[in-house]
């Protein structure tokens, strides 16, 4: 990252966030709460991807749960195979295969489980399997110029298909319970408090790395093209860019990010189940990004933390109110603050702060609102 790609404001934002999740929260929270925050941070990966694909490029995917789940399942398969050594599973009729396969009368490991004996393969598969699926979907859809609402509905249908498939194919996937009882990673017990703390920091560090990477993409020419695509797709096409390729690219990046989030989720929570794949979790992931601000990476991350924190608090104390509160929140965010919390900060807080500071000339990054306005000006 150089001066030209990162403004001082961006740097301060990233550092503040890093300080919050890597220093303040670990000091302030007990291990149980910190593990919860770690879980929320894994949704943050998805939110980053959604800011790139939805906030910037205007592609709303209602199937991010697919990619989150695929990443999570890849990791869970590796951990499950490690937990199912012949010694640990000797009471089964076929020792050495995961317990749910034995319950479903499978006698051999299915072929697609075999490569997951290797950690290197698993780590590669976590971002690549989701990205590959996203590539296929994107290729089929964007090359035919399907977008907007149709794309949203079709990704949603794919999320439904995958959930039904995972639940239906119990012997291969663990069915509705998912892949549970995960114990060790290369012999290292992931269930202890210490391991959870280490995993939290790994997850937080990865998230910040992804944040910086996403920020770099946004500040590059590529990011500008994505924005331009959202605003006036035809003009970008007429200027000689292949719009479909850019869309496929950003959709794959979002999928890979979601996959990484899913894998970190599995590691910290200790299981993976279809309840993180389907339509409802997929829409919730979108909501996290929407509440924080769909066109601000940091906003989306704060939004994810905030919504999840609210969800946990509400469902602990007032479970019957949670759905009402969440529903009202969606409606309020969509109708009143389309740019989410980040938009609020930008519109209300930033002018206040600017008034307090002495004026100094500075090349500011063009805010999305300003792009809207100038584009409309051009269109007239």
């Amino acid at each position: 990252m150089t001066e030209s790609t990162f403004s001082r404001k961006d740097l301060i934002g990233v550092l503040t966030f890093a300080a919050l999740i890597l220093v303040v929260l670990p000091m302030a929270l007990d291990p149980f709460r910190l593990n919860l925050v770690g879980k929320y941070l894994t949704y943050g990966f998805v939110a980053l991807g959604l800011v790139l694909s939805w906030g910037d490029a205007g592609i709303l995917s209602l199937g991010q749960g697919i990619f989150f789940g695929l990443g999570g399942y890849c990791m869970a398969m590796f951990l499950k195979l490690e937990a199912s050594t012949p010694a640990a599973t000797k009471i089964q009729s076929t020792p050495g295969i995961p317990d749910f396969m034995d319950w479903n009368q499978l006698t051999a490991l299915p072929w697609f489980w075999r490569p997951f004996h290797s950690l290197a393969f698993t780590i590669a598969a976590v971002p690549l399997v989701p990205a590959l699926l996203a590539f296929v979907i994107g290729l089929a859809m964007f090359k035919r110029r399907v977008g907007g609402t149709y794309f949203a509905i079709i990704t949603q249908a794919i999320a439904a298909i995958l959930t039904i498939l995972i639940i239906g194919q119990q012997g291969y996937t663990g069915g509705v319970n998912g892949i549970t009882d995960l114990r060790t990673l290369l012999g290292w017990d992931i269930r202890t408090d210490h391991a959870k703390l280490v995993l939290y920091f790994i997850s937080g560090g990865l998230l910040i790395a992804c944040l910086v990477a996403a920020q770099t993409v946004r500040r590059s020419k590529l990011g500008r093209i994505l924005l331009a695509m959202r605003e006036r797709e035809d003009r970008v096409r007429f200027s000689g860019y292949d719009v479909a390729n850019f869309k496929i690219f950003v959709f794959c990046v979002a999928a890979a990010l979601a996959g990484i989030g899913g894998a970190m989720f599995t590691l910290q929570v200790g299981f993976m189940s279809p309840s993180f794949v389907g339509i409802v979790p997929s829409i919730e992931l979108v909501i996290f990004a929407a509440v924080g601000g769909r066109s601000s990476l940091l906003g989306a991350l704060y939004g994810t933390l905030l919504v999840n924190w609210a969800k946990t608090t509400f469902s602990e104390d007032l479970p019957q109110l949670w759905l009402l509160a969440m529903g009202a929140m969606f409606i309020a965010v969509v109708v009143l603050f389309p740019n989410g919390l980040a938009g609020l900060v930008q519109d209300r807080l930033a002018p206040l702060l600017a008034r307090l500071r002495p004026q100094r000339p500075e090349l500011q990054q063009v805010a999305p609102a300003a792009v809207d306005a100038s584009n409309q000006g051009v269109a007239r």
């Binding site: 709303l60 039904i164 529903g327």
Partner: protein, 308 residues
């Protein structure tokens, strides 16, 4: 013969599964008609459509209770009153929602999806608070139960026949309303060119509100029909929403004929396959092929030519 069934057996299996498919088809058509009107006409993605349907189902349930308690003599015909009430309840709620929420979002179709999703969560919680989380079933009058025997092997449930008759009636009514009545002409004018429609003096806001209300009202009727084939619970509507959207998109969003044809294809394929495969695999295969076809033909089966 195929999987140990004789040809005659297979024939009656196909007929009975086909009929079971027809009942599913009826609910699909009613749901999808409303959604197609809303999605096709206004570009609004109504994720709360399933909850409007469930509202109709709960209204039917309440009617059956009230009649059983206070008017047992008229219990035999309560269902028809329930349908009308379900239509009114869902329709009115729909119009209120359009006024309060949807009309602010016409320029942002993707956001309607999020807002109506929020609405569906609220409605679900409201149902849960009022009616409880448990599933409720509707008691049918005696004459609606049982089945008729076409041949010794094929039997057909009477309530299925009623659902189908109802669907046919409503489809016809919608067709007449949209394609033959003056109001339908206004609706189509707004669909084809909102600015021009407004310029020639059509009150587009009123048309929008009534259209949205009509779509939701039909969902309410679908709810009434739904009580005959499934039990009503606060979250039952959500199970149907994806299928219904696929039906609408598969048929081509603006074409009523397309919606009916695709509802027929999807429900028949599913119920015929369900006999030979497990239910979930049948659903996966059907959904997959629909998604596959949509990838090849994104505009859906039937396309209405519109100038944008």
């Amino acid at each position: 013969m195929f999987m140990g069934y004789s040809l005659g057996d297979l024939g009656s299996i196909l007929a009975m599964q086909g009929f079971a498919g027809l009942v599913l088809f009826s609910v699909f058509v009613l749901m999808a008609l409303g959604l197609a009107i809303i999605f096709g006409q206004m570009g609004v993605i109504n994720m709360a459509h399933g909850e409007f349907m469930i509202l109709g189902a709960y209204v039917t349930f309440l009617c059956s209770r009230l009649f059983a308690a206070y008017l047992p003599g008229a219990f035999a015909v309560y269902f028809f009153l329930a349908i009308i009430l379900a239509f009114c309840a869902s329709g009115l709620l729909g119009m209120a929602v359009e006024w309060a929420l949807i009309r602010h979002l016409y320029k942002r179709p993707l956001d309607t999806l999020l807002a109506t999703w929020g609405l569906s969560l609220i409605l679900q919680q409201v149902y849960r608070s009022i009616f409880g989380a448990r599933e409720v079933g509707v008691e049918l009058p005696g004459w609606m139960m049982g089945s008729t025997h076409l041949t010794s092997q094929i039997e057909i449930p009477i309530n299925g026949l009623i659902v189908m008759a109802l669907t046919t009636l409503i489809t016809l009514a919608v067709y007449l309303l949209i394609f033959r009545a003056g109001w339908g002409r206004q609706v189509r004018a707004v669909t084809q060119n909102r600015a021009m429609a407004s310029a020639v003096g059509i009150d587009t806001e009123r048309v929008d509100r009534l259209t949205y209300g009509l779509g939701c009202g039909i969902a309410g009727v679908a709810g009434s029909a739904f009580t005959m084939i499934g039990s009503t619970s606060p979250t039952a509507g959500q199970l149907y929403i994806v299928d219904t959207f696929l039906v609408v998109v598969f048929g081509g969003a603006q074409s009523l004929i397309g919606t009916i044809a695709s509802a027929f294809t999807i429900s028949q394929a599913r119920s015929t396959m369900e006999f030979f495969l497990s239910g979930s695999m049948a659903q996966v295969l059907v959904l997959l092929s629909v998604v596959g076809i949509l990838m090849l033909r994104p505009q859906g089966l039937f396309v209405l030519k519109i100038r944008r």
